[in-house]
Amino acid sequence: MMQKKSISVFLNGILILLMAMCILQGAIAGGQKEGSKEEQGVMLKPMEGVKGPFAGGGWTFPSRPIKISIWWHEYAPFTKYVKELAERYQKLHPNVTIEQVVASQADLNQKLTVALASGTGPNILDQDISFFAAYYDKGVLEPIDLQVFGGAKLSDIQNEYIGKVLEGVTFGGNIYGLPYQANSMSLVHNLKAYREVGLDFAKDAPKTWEDLKRVGAKLKKVEGGRTVRKGFDFPYQSKRWQLQALQPIIEQFGGTVLDENKKSNLAKEPAIKALELWRDVTKVTGDPKYSLATPSDPNVDFIDGRTAIWYTGPWATNQLKERFGQPYKDWAFTSIAQLDPAHPKTMMYGFTWGVNKDKPAIEKKVAWDFVRFMLANPEEWIIKASFIQPRKGLMETKAAKEFPYIEVHLKDIETASWYVRSVHTNEIVENVGRAIEMVIFQGIEPREALKAADSELSKILDGK
């Protein structure tokens, strides 16, 4: 009898505890009503020294404590700068706490996907623009909050950017992200190596693929059967980079990766010729086995002198300055080689801030305001992170004029088409990467490798 009574008391105690927790949870949730129109706060003024919609202001910034989170991919100068921006924003708005998570890009892709799917994603996400089509398709993204941009119109935001840059984040007529970085991929040259083999960079810098083969062959150094330095090599540390390198070559041959109906063009002649060219250049100038590059340190082969010409973007500028030497003296950028230099075809990709739809309204508003704040000064992005924000008027700034080879990067962006953007981008990347590896590492003919890739990809794109 005593035993039964004590069990009963114990169970009643648990029941009371559970009820108390429910009441407490309800009280907390009740205090954070979403969409409350009665937020108390301070009317924000536009940022000083910033013109246009990115100056913001003209809305009531909430005064209660707000916590937002931001995740981004690791790259040392970029990480340092974003942390600095977060600190500045928190000083400006002491009631805001910004929780920051940094991960390698490969990890971030999966971490973000799982988090978004499970409802634990950040308020602000950083992602390659090629993912945005899939994220929009899955209903993850919040459209731009124009109120935090000083009540601007969509056209005002679009007018801030050069060319058709915002096409990559515009869906259904609305903008779902803002790029903080747009990159062409260009060639970076080791000028010390040029001098060493008696080449004059000013005259000998390769403009065509034939030039690259000729110059690359001279720059390549083999001693005792070992490659000591490659002349030029395509990237192999990441399949995403491989597609970035192959896509403009396909376009130089008059093709595209996907046709206008988003079907695979990999088995067509332009793609086959592009991969044949890749193989032929590699045979003369490269050695894919001789590489220590990884996705998180893609430029290491160039920096360590294992290759004289490499394939990278303007974001590498600070790293090159710190670890390799001086621009114009020790290294230089040129556009990628062309079949027809008079009609150049290059590729552009970009990283973009997006806002998570699955958050309380006030957090989304503050998140967009922080995005606005981060992007308000494109000149500073160049100085601190070597990132080129594709914004109008950038070339007139002092930082841009002093940025080594910015004219090369901006010219390449102007002649660029976007990196493949599709709900199935990751699968396209995987299949193209496999085809390239089959050709380079297994000696399979490009036609055969691309036929296999095309067959696999067609099933995926047809939804099978």
């Binding site: 996907t113 899955k138 199935h424 990751n426 297994q442």
Partner: protein, 290 residues
């Protein structure tokens, strides 16, 4: 009041003590497994609500060239790594048991690969297998042409198999050592009286007594090899050209990179059944041979 029987009171306490473990297994194993079973019958893409599509995922897998390649790669890895593991781990155990002095130190040093984190192992071996890394330098020293370990499809899977053997053998050595140390010395004494030598002792005394240990080692080593993931992902990411994309890595990419969680769940269920069938066959074989 009638007092409960002692055995009933003991049973109740026993259930109470195992309850936390059962709850943990339920929450972190059985419920997710059941959820995976359900998801395998849907077109779940991580973002939209799962929609039932019956066994379409399983049927599609039969024609999925990349999945079938992953199965081939996994089986190559399993067969290539587990048989040497069984032999090597038993040999190491026999050696350490025979060592009168330093056996403990020897076992500790050999066990190091087991305790190294997979990331450390991957980075370490990536450098060792580099074109001009230590492995190729040793080959060159002996007049052998260097091998493109991580860029040639056959060499890459061999490199992974080697790492698998290097990591697994010390672990199973410890299991065999425990088994060997449990064999009563009287059995060997009796054998010597009957005129056995070291070889016949091994085949007629040691091996038969170690049979249950063998069953454990075989089943666990095969399951572990089928589940290998970190080393292929970190060293080669399944390349070159899918030559090292084992089933778990393919499942991961299907679910988290291509957002096809339903299909990934179907692959997981298939992998689970392969392991169950294998384990059942082994248990049957070993119990029939008693």
């Amino acid at each position: 009041m009638r007092k409960l029987h002692v055995s009933t009171r003991i049973n109740r306490w026993a259930y109470l003590f195992v309850l936390p473990t059962v709850l943990i297994l339920l929450v972190f194993r059985f419920i997710p497994m059941t959820a995976a079973g359900y998801l395998s019958l849907t077109n779940y893409d991580l973002f939209s609500r799962p929609k039932l599509i019956g066994i379409k995922n399983f049927i599609d897998l039969l024609h999925d060239a990349s999945f079938l390649q992953a199965v081939r790669v996994s089986f190559t890895y399993v067969i290539g790594s587990v048989i040497p593991v069984w032999i090597l781990s038993l040999l190491l155990a026999l050696m350490t048991v025979k060592l009168r002095k330093g056996g403990g130190i020897f076992r500790t040093l050999i066990f190091i690969p087991v305790v190294l984190a997979p990331v450390v192992v991957a980075v370490l071996w990536r450098f060792l297998y580099f074109e001009y890394g230590l492995v190729n330098e040793i080959l060159r020293f002996f007049g052998v042409s260097p091998v493109p370990w991580l860029t040639h499809p056959t060499a890459a899977i061999l490199a992974l198999i080697h790492i698998g053997i290097w990591r697994a053998s010390p672990y199973f050595m410890v299991i065999f050592t425990a088994g060997l140390q449990a064999i009563p010395e009287e059995f060997y004494e009796a054998g010597r009286i009957d005129g056995t030598n070291a070889i016949s002792e091994f085949f007629y005394i040691t091996l038969p007594i170690l049979k249950p240990i063998f069953l454990l080692v075989i089943v666990i080593s095969v399951i572990t090899a089928l589940k290998v993931f970190e080393i292929p992902q970190l060293m080669t990411d399944g390349g070159p050209a899918g030559a090292t994309e084992v089933i778990p890595l393919h499942i991961y990419k299907t679910g988290f990179v291509y957002f096809k969680m339903g299909r990934a769940a179907a692959m997981s269920i298939l992998l689970f059944f392969i392991m169950m069938v294998f384990s059942w066959i082994q248990v049957k074989l070993f119990s029939e041979n008693r």
